[in-house]
């Protein structure tokens, strides 16, 4: 795990390459996190890949409600030879939740970005096939957002549809 100093050095290198890319660093529970600007995500991951972080293990979304900017995307990088992990995160506002897709560089992000789009409504620009993945394609709303209520989900059965019935509210 990069220690606090190593993390700062890494962030400094990223800043040298693109001054606007790094927003914040955090060393928490023996693990480094670098917050980057959404515009710079693809370049940042490419730069870190050349430094040895060659595997993208996980991409997941977070809703920081009620803080702004609300939506977050986390990228868990892994360096298999130095046995090192690093989290890269970015945050986008709810009214413009657009992030550049990293799927062209990291094919593993394909399903995971689709899940974030499905659950949080983050739009990944340049994703080859951005559709809902776990929820039905005609589903409305983004269920993992914090202001999306639990339960009370109307269920649609084909048998009711055939009989022209409406569904209990």
């Amino acid at each position: 795990m990069p220690d606090a100093v190593g993390l700062e050095l890494l962030a400094e290198e990223l800043r040298e390459a693109d001054a606007a890319s790094v927003i914040d660093t955090l060393h928490f529970r023996d693990k480094g996190t670098i917050e980057v600007s959404p515009a710079a995500i693809r370049e940042t991951l490419a730069r870190l890949r050349s430094k040895g972080f060659s595997a993208l293990m996980s991409v997941h979304g977070v809703d920081y409600y009620p803080d702004e900017p609300r939506l977050g995307v986390h990228y868990e990088l892994l360096d298999m030879s130095a046995l090192d992990r690093l989290t890269i995160k970015l945050r986008v506002a709810l009214d413009d939740p657009v992030v550049e897709s990293v799927t062209p560089d990291w094919p593993t992000a394909n399903h995971q970005e689709r899940e974030i789009y499905d659950m949080f409504g983050v739009i990944f620009e340049g994703h080859p096939d951005l559709r809902r993945i776990l929820m039905p394609e005609d589903y409305e709303g983004y269920p993992q957002r914090r202001d999306f209520p639990i339960g009370g989900e109307p269920v649609m059965f084909t048998v009711d549809e055939a009989h022209g019935r409406t569904y209990p509210q």
Partner: protein
């Protein structure tokens, strides 16, 4: 939310949308020769898909040209449900994600919570967790072996493997009261110490399991049909697998010895002497051989953990996190207060974000937990290995026969409960 779908127009619109998922022409479609391409729907209730997986396959005669997995049929919103429960109440729902690896689900979540809380785990609890997780790994591999052999037409293997799986489930029942979804691993340790005589029962199992695995190898590994169905079929190289984020036995079959138990040990795995089986070709045969070899290694770990099982508490003595022992409730006011507080509200977790990866039977199972300082997690996400590994199906099977697709899917070992969560 508008939910009425009564009028004819709206109904047909819904159907059109549904068809757009399924019948849209697939990319990368090309036919060699003048064969007409056939789009075939497989699933979601096909027995060979190991759960409710639906595949949309483009066929050129018998050759698979493209494949799209369609998932979400058993999506139950566990991640969302967990946000509405206090940490200790979230464990049972999270266990139910990957229903063949419940100890791993529980451990990944508890490990992430413990990292946030900075709780020290007693050595005995760490060893008990290892014993149960390795038993779980053998159990998961046995289910995989049985159902995979069934896909290849070997009916009897299914019964043999499920017979041995029952032995493990009996052990789980004895130590925790449940055969599946045991809720044995708790934040801070494990729920109960192992009962008297349990260790001997585990020994009985571990002495018998290697010879059983020998028998299974003898049945399958010298069988010409199995060899023809697996050897050299649907290989995928290490580089492609890493790009697709594939981990676990699938990656090790391609020759990369990446295993979190060795690379970044957790829960005292560094105390044990075991080997990481790796393959050379990355074909279906290697995937098969690596998993069977892992059964022997897991047995070795269990034996060593039983030998060196430390004495002492099996759950943290931090009363702010773990329940006080029952007998203290009658005598100690403080214990009663802690008990009341833990059962009603649950413990509060310091704010922060943690990603905690463990090596599940299918690869890296990572649990991301974000705490906002309250007694309920603000976000729980499982990086489920099946979900990520499933993306490798298309590159593996492109250009292969449809029969080999079934074998490859079996060797991929996806668990749809984990994929859909």
């Amino acid at each position: 939310m508008s939910t009425e779908i009564t009028t004819a127009d709206e109904t047909s619109e819904y159907r059109k949308l549904e068809e757009s998922i399924t019948m849209e022409p697939l990319e990368r479609v090309r036919s060699e020769g003048d064969q007409e391409l056939l789009t075939l729907n497989m699933g979601p209730h096909h027995p060979a898909t190991h759960g409710v997986l639906r595949l949309l396959i483009t066929l050129d005669g018998e050759i698979v040209r493209d494949l799209k997995p369609i998932i979400g049929y058993v999506h139950t919103g566990i991640e969302k449900t967990a946000e509405d429960k206090s940490y200790w109440k979230a464990i049972p729902v999270i266990e139910r994600m990957d229903y063949l690896a419940y100890y791993f689900n529980a451990y990944a979540f508890c490990g992430a919570t413990e990292a946030l809380l900075e709780v020290e785990i007693p050595p005995r609890a760490q060893y008990l967790r290892v014993i149960h997780m390795e038993l779980n790994r053998i159990m998961s591999h046995l289910v995989w072996l049985g159902t995979s052999a069934l896909d290849l037409g070997a009916m009897s293997m299914f019964w043999y493997c499920f017979r041995d799986r029952e032995l493990i489930l009996d052990l789980f029942e004895q130590s925790s009261g449940q055969r599946m979804h045991t809720r044995y691993i708790q934040v801070g340790g494990v729920a109960e110490d192992i009962p008297v005589g349990w260790a001997e029962k585990v020994r009985e199992f571990t002495t018998q399991m290697p010879s059983r695995a020998d028998q299974y190898k003898a049945i399958l590994a010298n069988n010409e049909i199995v060899l023809q169905r697996l050897r050299g079929v649907c290989p995928l190289g290490e580089k492609e697998l890493l790009e697709l984020g594939v981990t676990g036995p699938l990656l090790r079959a391609a020759g990369n010895p990446w295993d979190l138990r060795k690379a970044m040990p957790y829960s005292s795995y560094d105390h044990f002497d075991f080997k990481i089986p790796v393959g050379t070709e990355g074909d279906n045969w290697d995937r098969f051989a690596v998993r069977v070899a892992e059964i022997y290694e897991s047995v070795k770990i269990i034996d060593q953990a039983l030998d060196g099982l430390p004495e002492g508490p099996w759950i943290s003595e931090d009363r702010k996190v773990a329940l006080p022992p029952r007998h203290e409730l009658a005598t100690s006011m403080e214990a009663l207060i802690h008990h009341f507080k833990l059962v009603t509200e649950g413990f509060r977790v310091p704010p922060g974000e943690v990603y905690f990866p463990v090596e599940s039977p299918r690869g890296e199972l990572g649990c991301f937990v974000r705490s906002d300082g309250s007694s309920k997690p603000a976000r729980v996400h499982m990086r489920d290995p099946s979900f990520v590994n499933l993306q490798a199906t298309a590159p593996m099977t492109e250009g292969a026969y449809i029969a080999d697709l079934i074998a490859t899917l079996a060797m991929l070992d996806p668990v749809l409960g984990g994929i859909d969560r």
